[in-house]
């Protein structure tokens, strides 16, 4: 007996009881739709996180200045300016695992252009920062080493600042006042989006490091800098680079024995990797919860198939009498069950995909439907049919034709 014929018989049987077939399928439809939607929401979240990782740049170590104790009061991390431009130079020279190092001086202040003003983050830094963050310019140019050396009064703007100060007009070459000091806008950066902490990375203005030290910072020593951004040569060398920096800075800052460490290092990628891990675990958990409804749906299929076998005992008897083998009957009922679940699977995939799209539109929550999750859902729905269809089909195939023919 060929498969096409088996399929035809199964389709006719399902059509005969349309309402029942649909209700039976509903369990699978809901299960598959839930799995697809949950996976989409979960992988959407981890997609966002991985995007953020990419937006920070890869293999990055953050060196923060430590706290100081003044008059018995300890300031928090970053409260003191314990790092200097010389530290940066030393790190570049003496740490073999470090590829790039960029000092930053961060403050905030009012930027004024014409009659517009905007309070934003002011960041003094060197050209290396943009390399480390993999952040290019959209128009104009970036900060050059020459700008840093000459303490030029130029600035590079983030997209958010441009939108708020210039609207749609071209900012290149215009003069803005930052903390009342005039700066020439030489470039606009590419859009970077949200940071993993949720702050708008495009809401910032970059100026040469030395310019910041002289004109924007309130620090006493002109040489001091804020946090350092350091890029390791490769992902494998991240922890080695961290160790090298630690050792070097301890040496340079003469920290021995019980003396308080005046800096700290943080491995950003590691933190984000943990965040990504937890979001993956979350989506897996959601998928697992949703798949429970698939199992419930599968039990519904088994239940209905058992009823169907009992109802159609006589039909089974007729088929056996005119030459159907046990395997023909087994295959017929298995096909029916698998057809039921696979049809439910296809409808469920469509519903789940639609549901995920609606969720992402309405709640502004990113969703990602992977081909993989669709394939898994489809295969899984087939597997549910095989698993829960086997017992009823086995029961049908095991009927004695004489009894089956006599069944009323």
């Amino acid at each position: 007996m060929d498969f096409l014929q088996t399929l035809k018989i199964a389709l006719r049987a399902l059509r005969t009881n349309k309402m029942r077939s649909f209700l039976t399928m509903l369990g699978i439809i809901i299960g598959i739709a839930a799995v697809i939607a949950m996976m989409a929401v979960g992988s959407g979240a981890s997609y966002v996180i991985s995007q953020q990782i990419a937006s920070i740049g890869s293999n990055i170590i953050l060196v923060l200045p430590g706290s100081t104790t003044s008059g018995g009061l300890r300031t928090g991390s970053g409260g003191a300016q314990t790092l200097t431009s010389d530290d940066v130079r030393a790190i570049m020279a003496e740490c073999p695992s470090v590829e790039l190092a960029a000092p930053t001086i961060r403050s905030s202040g009012l930027v004024v252009y014409g009659n517009m003003n905007w309070s934003t983050v002011l960041m003094g830094t060197t050209p290396e920062l943009f390399e480390i963050r993999e952040w290019g310019v959209d128009s104009g140019r970036g900060i050059s080493q020459q700008d840093v050396d000459s303490a030029a009064k130029i600035c590079v703007l983030g997209q958010t600042v441009v939108e708020n100060l210039f609207g749609s007009s071209d900012p290149l070459g215009k003069i803005v006042r930052i903390k009342k000091v005039p700066f020439t806008v030489v470039g606009v950066l590419n859009r970077k989006g949200q940071s993993p902490q949720g702050t708008d990375q495009d809401d910032s203005v970059f100026v040469p490091l030395r310019t910041a030290q002289r004109n924007l910072s309130r620090s006493q020593t002109l040489n001091s800098v804020g946090a350092l951004l350091i890029k390791a040569k490769s992902e494998d060398l991240l922890s080695k680079a961290e160790e090298e920096i630690n050792n070097l800075l301890r040496q340079r800052h003469r920290i021995t024995g019980g003396k308080e460490v005046d800096f700290s290092t943080r491995n950003l990628s590691e933190i984000l990797a943990v965040a990504e891990q937890s979001s993956k675990a979350m989506s897996l958990l959601l998928g697992a919860v949703a798949s429970i409804s698939l199992i419930v749906g599968g039990i519904g299929i088994m239940n209905i198939m058992l009823v169907s076998v009992t109802e159609r005992t006589r039909e089974i008897g007729i088929r056996m009498a005119i030459g159907a083998k046990k395997n023909d009957i087994l295959l017929q009922f298995m096909t029916e069950a698998v057809l039921l679940t696979m049809l439910g699977g296809v409808i469920g995939i469509a519903l789940g995909t639609g549901g995920a799209t609606i969720v992402s539109r309405m709640l502004d929550w990113p969703t990602l439907i992977s081909f993989q999750s669709i394939a898994i859902a489809f295969i899984f729905s087939g597997a549910v049919g095989i698993f829960f269809g086997f017992y009823p089909a086995k029961k049908a195939a095991g009927l004695n034709p004489i009894d089956a023919l006599r069944y009323e």
């Binding site: 007996m1 005969t16 039909e315 009498a321 005119i322 030459g323 023909d328 034709p401 004489i402």
Partner: protein, 226 residues
Amino acid sequence: MSNVITLTNIRRVFSMGDQQFEALKGVSYSVEAGEFVAIMGASGSGKSTCMNILGCLDRPTSGQYLLDGLDVGAMDPNQLADIRNKKLGFVFQGFNLLARTPAVENVELPLVYAGLHSRERRQRALQAMEQVGLSGKENNHSSQLSGGQQQRVAIARALVNNPAVILADEPTGNLDSSTSEEIMSLFNSLNQQGITIIMVTHEHDVAAHAGRQITFRDGIIIGDTK
């Protein structure tokens, strides 16, 4: 003429718990090709058990059953299914057609399990329906057919695979007397075309259509008249 069916000392014992019931107590007879045999007997006489064994739906406890020269008693269930498919045609008292299925597909069904292609199936099914006088009713479902027409569909289904024997179990049991008469004359004309028919009945006037009557009582044959 050669024997289509040869039963030699067939015994069939049913055991229910520790009780044993011997439904057939050593039955032997043979049927030649082209014969029309009526098997008669009261209920419990063993005629149905004998019919089940003839139909390869059941196997004898002991004894030998040769169908068209094949020793059927020694076959496994799958081989028996094959034999039922290729050598036998069944006609039942309750017609036993598939509901919600067009008549022609009911007739085709044995050929489906025989693995024939759809075009050949359809051709042979239409031919068989013509043979029983049902041309034009191919696409009617069984609920749209009268009892006599349903039984004709069943007979066409039994004929379609050119079986060695047609086994009919009370084929007129659910029909009124005039329709019974029609069905019996159809059997007679099929028999005249050379088809071997074995029919179980308890009605003497139906049995009279057959050329030979075998009577069962208490698991043995008590009469065999031609």
